[in-house]
């Protein structure tokens, strides 16, 4: 039977080889032909080409407010860009020699977190619109063309993952190696961030500016020199809640319910670190396997005699939990929320059940910051109906920081982006959610907010200024206590 088997394998193998070659060349052709960001081969004089594209797109585009508003808001938020913008169309002739800079943005566009991917991309696009870009279309994967920084055209490439590290790395590799992305904005989730850290470390000339990945070890332990985070991590987002619960709310004994993976460990860990340091105790830590829909059996495990229940989960899980907790206990024991559980992105769906929930987090709706109000207005103009949440704000801040640093170095990414990365590390500005500076690990020190859900929005209880990665504890001691896990910290 050997004969039958071996019969046509040579043909298959030859075909395989042919298809590999064909596909490879096709792939290149297609990406150049299809995406307006014709970035892969500099020989094609892309600057001129993209400018014409950008022009026609702008004319055809339905997004009239975007161009005008982009100019308006960029006037008040960034001083340097206005003149460049004015000159951009005139520069078309002279810009031919300038190699464009490609920004790759990655978020979860498929799978359970797809909605968050949409929010993230809003943030990225808003920042680029400020630099003279125009939207290509309404869909998430439609990019922004025509943006320029210091006379250098900026191209945007968008890739999606399904929240698994493997897919995130492949998508990023596509952006970096196929589309020539110099700067990567993203990713969304913690474990994706850790995987990308490893990948980007091998490409020192590429810069990763984190989106919303909240894993502590993206920057806390073994940081990579080209990874920057302009926002908090999971523990920082939960800063202050433990203390508030003990001192202001008078709780002494709590239970926690959280999804069973590293991001909720960080949140529970941060709460317990503070709460237990003050003398509080934890009666029960309930870990819910990812993929659980029905929380009723977990709700039933909450001891009757605790003062409060801290819960940390996101998306669908938060909705299911809050609803079921409400139905099963009538909220007999007060809830304290983790940051993403009551993020603005799910607040609407939580409805009245979320009313009064206390949490800590990066975004509040009444901070009174002019930057926040401008951002909110701008967001609603360009993407009608959208309101600020962690995802659009963080991706916006990340992209804007990168663009500002680019501007400072005049779009110069030579010498392995050394000047750019140095400038990025020095970024210090007032974002829509408060001032930001980076520490030595290129991790942001930022304001957090203690907040309470009031009338379907997050109202400030207290601003917690300049929270750092070690939550104000001694750095060495904090790092020495190890990564948060199911039973770390021990809490008595």
């Amino acid at each position: 039977m050997r004969n039958l088997g071996a019969g046509r394998s040579w043909r298959i193998l030859a075909a395989l080889a042919a298809v590999v070659v064909l596909a490879a060349s096709c792939g290149d052709d297609d990406s150049t032909a299809d995406t307006p960001s014709a970035g892969t081969e500099p020989v094609e004089a892309p600057a001129g080409a993209t400018d014409t594209d950008g022009g026609t797109d702008a004319d055809d585009s339905m997004e009239e407010p975007s161009a005008g508003d982009a100019e308006a808001s960029s006037d008040d938020s960034s001083d340097g860009s206005a003149s460049d913008e004015g000159g951009s169309s005139d520069d078309a002739g002279t810009a031919e020699a300038i190699e464009p800079i490609t920004i790759g943005a990655i978020s979860t566009l498929d799978g359970p977190f797809a909605a968050l991917g949409d929010f993230s991309m809003h943030g990225v696009k808003l920042a680029l619109l400020e630099y003279g870009g125009t939207l290509d279309g309404d869909a998430t994967r439609d990019t922004v063309t025509g943006a320029e920084v210091a006379g250098v055209p900026i191209e945007l490439v968008i890739e999606g993952s399904d929240a698994t590290p493997d897919v995130a790395v492949e998508a990023t590799r596509r952006m970096v190696e196929q589309d020539g992305a110099n700067i990567v904005i993203g990713p969304l989730s913690g474990d994706e961030g850790l995987a990308l850290k490893d990948y980007i470390r091998e490409h020192p000339d590429v810069t990763l500016v984190n989106g919303t990945s909240a894993s502590q070890d993206l920057t806390l332990r073994d940081p990579s020199p080209n990874v920057f985070r302009f926002g908090g991590d999971g523990a920082m987002w939960t800063f202050g809640v433990g203390t508030y619960a003990y001192e202001e709310l008078g709780h002494r004994r709590i239970a926690t319910v959280a999804e069973d993976y590293s991001y909720p460990y960080d949140q529970v860990g941060a709460v317990l670190t503070e709460f237990c340091a003050l003398g509080g105790t934890v009666a029960e830590r309930i870990w819910v396997p990812l993929g659980t829909q029905d929380y009723s059996s977990f709700v039933a495990q909450i001891p009757d005699d605790v003062d409060a229940v801290f819960f940390a989960m996101g998306g669908t899980d938060a909705i299911n939990f809050v609803k079921q907790y409400d139905e099963f206990t009538g909220q007999a024991i007060p809830l304290i929320a983790g940051p993403t559980a009551v993020d603005q992105s799910v607040l609407n769906e939580l409805g009245s059940r979320a009313e009064g929930l206390v949490s800590s987090g990066p975004v509040v709706d009444d901070s009174g910051l002019a930057e926040f109000d401008t951002f909110a207005e701008y967001l609603d103009d360009v993407f009608p109906g959208q309101t600020p949440n962690t995802f659009n704000v963080y991706y916006y801040v990340a992209t804007k920081s990168a663009l500002q640093a680019l501007e400072e170095v005049g779009g110069d990414l030579s010498d392995g982006s050394a000047a750019f990365q140095a400038a990025l590390a020095q970024q210090s500005w007032t974002t829509p959610i408060g001032p930001v500076v980076l520490d030595d690990n290129r991790q942001a020190v930022v304001d957090m907010y203690l907040r309470r859900v009031t009338d379907g929005a997050q109202a400030t209880i207290e601003t917690l200024p300049l929270v750092n990665a070690t939550l104000g504890f001694d750095r060495d001691a904090y790092i020495a206590q190890g990564s948060f896990s199911r039973d770390n910290p021990s809490c008595g």
Binding site: G5, G27, G160, T164, D166, S262
Partner: protein
């Protein structure tokens, strides 16, 4: 051509393809298209073997794949083993895991087998996610460095490509060898008519277990290389999406040939990497392409390709009687399909047998009706 020269010819073709590819494609394509489709193809080949040769539709191959990958990562990153020792143990873990899957599901067939193996696959996924002391939970293992081989660093793409290609060829050759042995014949017997196989003295259970164990070699090899490729392994590497992806790879490639898995892997990899250039609804397009391939040919792309090939041959007048069996089975799927159908539990065997008979006179099936010729 003799059998031997055909083997040599296909090896030569493979050698040419392997040596030429790196020169023709970019580094990115070499890694993310070529190497990816090779290791996905290796894993796919293990499933294509199970389905195409033994008629066992398993959804636990991703689990077997994951066991090998995890074993290597755990031994190296948590126990400080030398990489090659870990690779050896991981390679052995593949067939052992396959054997265990086989023992658990030795009595199941058809759809039940599919569902039982699905349950095993999901179980292994959740085990990886929940049993943190061993598996590091949801985060899994990051920062795995591929080993060096004779001083050549396999983190570099060309060496990794060559090694993966050699493994791929070895896997194909290994499966071809197995197909020529007594066991290989028994697997096909199991596929076509398990009850009859039993009447010839074979134990269907032993045959099933043995087929699973053999396929575990390739799944394990795929798992090891995937960890080199990804530099990481986490529950996300073996979740339901990946299981379905592997099934799609095999179905698009076709199960008529082990090599089909590589064709399917290439097609899926290309879709994953380039489809987002055309549409915002990538998943819809992938699903639709998959449906179309299944509708057009039950033997996937291999079936289409071989069908075109034999049609071209006929047009050119190359009638090769020695391969007549093959040509017929390729171009006329309907002859084979009922057997696969009965294995998947869709029909009572008697009906199928009646249909299978090429009757000059009217034949009668198990229910006592006439079915026209």
């Amino acid at each position: 051509m003799t059998a031997r020269s055909k083997v040599l010819a296909s090896l030569a073709a493979a050698a040419v393809a392997v040596s030429v590819t790196p020169a023709l494609v970019s580094d990115f394509v070499l890694l993310q298209i070529a190497i990816k489709s090779l290791w996905l193809g290796i894993a796919g080949a293990s499933l294509a073997f199970l389905i195409g040769q033994a008629g066992l539709i398993s959804l636990a191959q991703t689990a077997v794949f994951g066991v090998s990958g995890y074993v290597m990562a755990i031994l190296v990153l948590d126990h400080g083993w030398g990489v090659w020792f870990a690779v050896a143990v991981a390679a052995a873990a593949g067939p052992i895991a396959g054997l265990i899957v086989g023992v658990i599901s030795r009595r199941a067939a058809g759809l039940y087998l599919m569902m039982l193996t699905l349950a095993i696959g999901v179980f292994v996924f959740f085990f990886a996610q929940q049993y943190q002391p061993i598996t590091r939970g949801h985060t899994g293992f990051n920062g795995f460095d591929a080993p060096t081989l004779f001083g050549i660093d396999l983190n570099d793409r060309r060496p990794l490509f060559y090694v993966t290609a050699v493994v791929a060829v070895a896997v194909v050759a290994g499966f071809r060898y197995v197909m020529a042995t007594s066991a290989g014949l028994a697997y096909r017997g199991l596929r076509d008519n398990p009850k009859r196989l039993q009447a010839l003295g074979y134990s269907t259970e032993a045959t099933t277990v043995s087929a699973f164990a053999v396929s575990g070699f390739a799944a394990g090899a795929g798992g090891v290389i995937s960890v080199w490729y990804n530099g990481a392994i986490s529950p996300g590497s073996i979740d339901l999406t990946r299981t379905i992806e592997l099934l799609i790879v095999v179905m698009i490639g076709g199960t008529l040939r082990i090599e089909g898995a590589f064709l399917g892997a290439l097609a899926v990899t290309l879709l994953q990497n380039y489809v987002s250039d055309f549409t915002n609804r990538t998943e819809t397009l992938v699903g639709a392409v998959f449906m179309v391939v299944v509708l057009v040919s039950r033997q996937g792309l291999t079936g289409i390709l071989l069908g075109l090939g034999s049609r071209a041959q006929r047009a050119l007048g190359w009638v090769r009687s020695r391969d007549s069996t093959l040509d017929r089975s390729v171009t006329d799927d309907s002859r084979r399909s009922p057997e696969h159908a009965s294995r998947t539990g869709q029909h009572a065997p008697s009906q199928q047998q009646a249909r299978r008979l090429p009757c000059e006179t009217l034949e009668r099936d198990g229910r006592g009706e006439y079915s026209p010729p």
